[in-house]
Symmetry: C2
Subunit: 231 residues, 2 copies
């Protein structure tokens, strides 16, 4: 009979169903027993959560939980407020995009840290990426440094740490790292649209396609053929 | 026709239905137009939310919103996990009590800051009290200083500030301040029990009764007579 693993070997890993969080889980599992956490925050499409579940199962997560967040009660973003249209544009600028949910990562981290405390885990992994994050203010290293101070001040023993292994990486590096560590990119979903196949033209698809191209490999998921962007 | 108030005069105020948050709202409304925010996080008793709504209405809040938080999905506290009994004890020690929801205030603050950003408000008021908080690690000044760094790093313009007007006060001072500013204590609810009348014996009732006594005044709410504690 195996001995029970000490809780210090546990990590909570935030999963969105996309490339970055799949690669983050691939990193975390090299050292930790992973407890995967996804959020139902009124995304328009359940397809992201289905992708997160498949990724968690494929990568041997001990548990996969979906926590509901009532972000629609607040509004202010194209991804949760059905009165704001999601832009179909290739212009990925430095301005904060309309898809911004104000202060969203703080909600995710709060739940993740709470769960880590209940589990006795010491690490919370999140796949935040500064470079390709289109200016979301809560994807910057300074934000996570500050949040780690909050965690130290606001938890029982102050020993939980938020870890952002991808924060300084470019998307192509993330693709290469994920492939190296066995992340199942064929199970991931990045498209802002909610069709059976990724659209290939929304900002998120464009970033993804560029990343695979820059990494010198082919994205394993199918795209709606007539819309494939080669850039 | 009146001119529209600039959004800088708006404040989000967290309301729990108890003494501290009613006094906090009373402070905030001396300077700001108040948007009251309460949470349905699986408390055992809706009576707290009813109290919060009545307090918000009585004090002229512009809006009152209840946001659902799925803290039961995480567990770990007597207030949300029905497998843990709430203690009926007068021993208010320095240890972290079983009623602790790990990292709970971070969830509340995340929602409040998101709403403040949507409203264009500059302040988020929360009635955290260090002295009487039974050792909750997220009721200390260092926690709010750290959280304010996160807010500055993680919001569009970084100008929202969390304000804790009661943090250094004793409960009796809060009662006196609330009375001075017209907080409707008769509408508030503090008891951990969920009966029609407050029990008078749970930790929260004991703290409340002591506070009114120390302030030299009578608590305006009725208690289950046989259980009144005079301490």
């Amino acid at each position: 009979m195996q001995e029970k693993e000490p809780t210090e070997r546990r990590a909570v890993v935030l999963l969105s169903g996309g490339l970055d969080s799949a690669t983050t889980l691939a990193c975390a599992r090299t050292e930790f027993q992973c407890y995967a956490l996804a959020f139902d925050y009124g995304q328009r499409h359940r397809i992201e959560l289905d992708a997160a579940r498949r990724v968690a199962q494929d990568m041997g997560a001990i548990e996969f939980r979906i926590v509901r967040l009532d972000l629609r009660a607040i509004g202010g973003s194209a991804l949760t407020d059905s009165n704001i249209a999601v832009p179909e544009s290739h212009a990925i600028g430095r301005d904060i995009p309309v898809t911004y949910v104000p202060f969203r990562n703080a909600h995710f981290l709060a739940v993740a840290v709470s769960w880590a405390e209940v589990l006795g885990a010491r690490k919370v992994y999140i796949g935040a990426v500064e470079q390709d994050s289109s200016g979301y203010p809560d994807c910057r290293p300074a934000y996570y440094e500050a949040f780690n101070r909050v965690v130290r001040a606001g938890t029982r023993e102050g020993r939980i740490e938020i870890v952002t292994p991808l924060i300084a990486m470019r998307k192509a590096e993330i693709v290469r790292l994920g492939l190296e560590l066995g992340a199942p990119f064929d199970l991931t979903w990045s498209c802002y649209g909610g069709q059976d196949q990724a659209c290939g033209v929304c900002d998120s698809c464009v970033l993804r396609l560029r990343a695979f191209r820059a990494a010198g490999t082919k994205d394993p998921i199918p795209y709606a053929e007539k819309q494939i962007v080669e850039c």
